[in-house]
């Protein structure tokens, strides 16, 4: 019995080290390009001509403070615009999707699972597939290059995924509390706000975070449906390679880090909330 335990423990220890090794390898593979970018933005450039290759340069923040302003004037304004747009559209998406998901989750229709899978299919549809007719429609509705227009379009693009995910959470919530409140005379929105929402709050926050990231990173919509009034960071990044202009690596690296930093900080602060993001299709089938 003792021998069996010892052998098992040794195997576990081997497995732990193996796992740690693989994990370390994976982390290096997935984070090295970003570390490289960060280092470059801080003024340290690689030199592959020497043997062995080396680095040169001094640690400095000049790429962030000066170069960005020179290469891309108004970059910081674009960061602010992107943050505003992403916040507005995330709020709109989550609100609209929450109400709809609740309605679907409390429905008695048996064909529900096909219907909700339809939302997943809509969520898989890339924006490129319908942006050409969409651009035309947005023009005709006089929403081109407006915050309102962009918010509505981003909300439409993100809503199907939000509905699918929120439906999963709401299906898990038992209805007894709602029915009890209803019997006591509570109105629909009171029930939604005081009883349902607190129960699914972690899931809603996780969903909002994911939608925020998707909105922050979207390019096609601000590129095609806006021009001068609403300029986002993604669109600014496209400008880097127009007219044969090749931006210096250090400056581009700084811009890339800036475009990443806000959502990185957000995810870092709220990562516990993100743990609650669950894409569970089997809940749909129940």
């Amino acid at each position: 019995m003792n021998g069996l335990n010892a052998g098992w423990r040794a195997q576990r220890r081997r497995q732990t080290w193996l796992r740690a090794g693989l994990m370390g390898l994976a982390l290096v593979a997935f984070l090295l390009p970003l570390a490289w970018t960060l280092v470059a933005s801080l003024g340290i450039a690689p030199d592959a001509t020497t043997s062995p290759p080396a680095f040169h340069g001094q640690f400095s923040l000049v790429n962030y403070t000066q170069e960005i302003g020179v290469a891309e004037p108004g970059f910081w304004l674009k960061v602010l615009t992107t943050a505003t747009l992403a916040t507005l559209s995330t709020l709109a998406t989550v609100l609209v999707a929450f109400l709809a998901a609740y309605s679907l989750a409390r429905s008695r229709i048996q064909a529900n699972s096909i219907f909700i899978s339809g939302f997943l299919i809509l969520a898989s549809l890339p924006v490129m597939a319908y942006i050409i007719p969409l651009a035309d429609i947005v023009q005709r509705l006089h929403l081109y290059d407006t915050f309102a227009g962009l918010t509505l379009v981003e909300a439409a693009v993100a809503a199907p995924l939000a509905v699918f995910v929120l439906f999963g959470y709401l299906r898990q919530v038992p209805t007894d509390l709602e029915e009890a409140a209803h019997l006591e005379g509570a109105g629909l929105f009171q029930i939604l706000g005081r009883i349902v929402l607190p129960l699914v709050a972690p899931g809603v926050i996780a969903t909002a975070l994911v939608i925020f990231v998707l909105n922050w990173n979207s390019l096609l919509i601000p590129l095609v449906l806006a021009s001068v009034q609403v300029k986002t960071v993604s669109v600014a990044l496209v400008d880097f390679f127009t007219f044969e202009r090749e931006l210096e690596w250090q400056t581009a690296a700084a811009a890339l880090i800036i475009s990443l930093l806000p959502i990185l900080v957000l995810v870092g602060l709220a990562h516990r909330a993100l743990d609650k993001f669950v894409l569970d299709p089997t809940r749909v089938e129940n």
Partner: protein, 288 residues
């Protein structure tokens, strides 16, 4: 329980957003593709399948669809497989697991356009990571793989796998953690090999989840636009052309709206077909 009237009312905001800005455009694009419609078209008439014929006859579009099919067939299984393995590595709790999970999410936080910009520089001779690593082995690379006919598409695919495989691991981990603990322990005690444990316990439990993620990934791959826009512009030649890029260029740069819209609508059709396949597969997977 909300009444039927209340349930319909709750759906109205969603409808007000989806119909004009998602479903409407998709339908409009469908019907417009059978006409010669364009935003400033004066005399509108039906042209039948002429637009789609033009798409099929266009060598760039043909390359584009072929590229994106290759892309999906290679990238999606790689992302699913790699993501699954990463999640499997994370299934046992250990100190710092939370941090590792967040760190693995970072590649996905990089937007597709930023990803394109980043890799373009990283694969570049003077400033690149690739050349730096190669220099350690005394190899000097001549030019970026993005400019080489046979390497361009694989390189773009690799950067996509880099970006999305960790996201898959993030999405799959809750599914793995939901597997009843006693099932896993019993298998370990019975001495089941790792491969058998994965094949007979883990995969059946997360198969519906993997199918769902697969559908989302395929959709994203079919719409590939930002990374090729930045990394190669569709080149060299048409080696990395995608339907997204080509239809964008046709509609907004070459001003051939009909061709661009028809080329893009094929993506919608593909997703609808894939959606039906997904529904069929899901029913089979859940019944297991």
């Amino acid at each position: 329980m909300p009444t039927r009237r209340q349930r319909i009312l709750l759906l109205v905001p969603l409808a007000l957003v989806l119909i004009p800005f998602l479903i409407g455009p998709a339908l409009f694009g469908f019907f417009a593709s059978f006409t010669n419609y364009a935003p400033n078209q004066k005399n509108l008439h039906v042209v039948g399948l002429a637009n789609y014929a033009a798409v099929v006859n266009d060598s760039e579009f043909r390359s584009a669809y072929r590229n994106v099919a290759v892309f999906a067939l290679v990238a999606v299984p790689a992302e699913l497989g790699l993501g699954f393995l990463l999640a499997y590595l994370l299934r046992e709790p250990f100190r710092g697991r939370g941090l590792v999970r967040v760190l693995l999410l970072v590649p996905w936080l990089v937007s597709p356009i930023a990803n394109g910009v980043m890799w373009r520089y990283l694969l570049n001779s003077q400033t690149g990571l690739l050349d730096y690593v190669l220099a350690w082995f005394r190899v000097t690379a001549a030019s970026s793989p993005l400019g080489i006919q046979g390497l361009a598409l694989p390189t773009v695919i690799a950067t996509d796998i880099w970006r999305l495989a960790p996201l898959v691991s993030f999405l799959v981990l809750p599914g793995l953690l939901a597997i009843p603990a006693d099932l896993r322990e019993q298998a370990t005690l019975e001495g089941a090999s790792l491969w058998n444990q994965i094949r007979h316990i883990a995969i059946p439990h997360v198969l519906p989840l993997l199918l769902t993620i697969a559908l989302l990934l395929i959709g994203a791959t079919l719409g590939t636009f930002e990374n090729v826009l930045m990394m190669t512009g569709g080149g060299p030649g048409t080696a990395t052309a995608t339907p997204g890029l080509s239809s964008y260029q046709q509609a907004f740069q070459i001003n051939n709206w009909s061709l661009g819209a028809a080329g893009a609508w094929v993506i919608v059709a593909a997703i609808l077909v894939l959606g039906l396949v997904y529904l069929r597969l899901m029913r089979a997977a859940v019944e297991q």
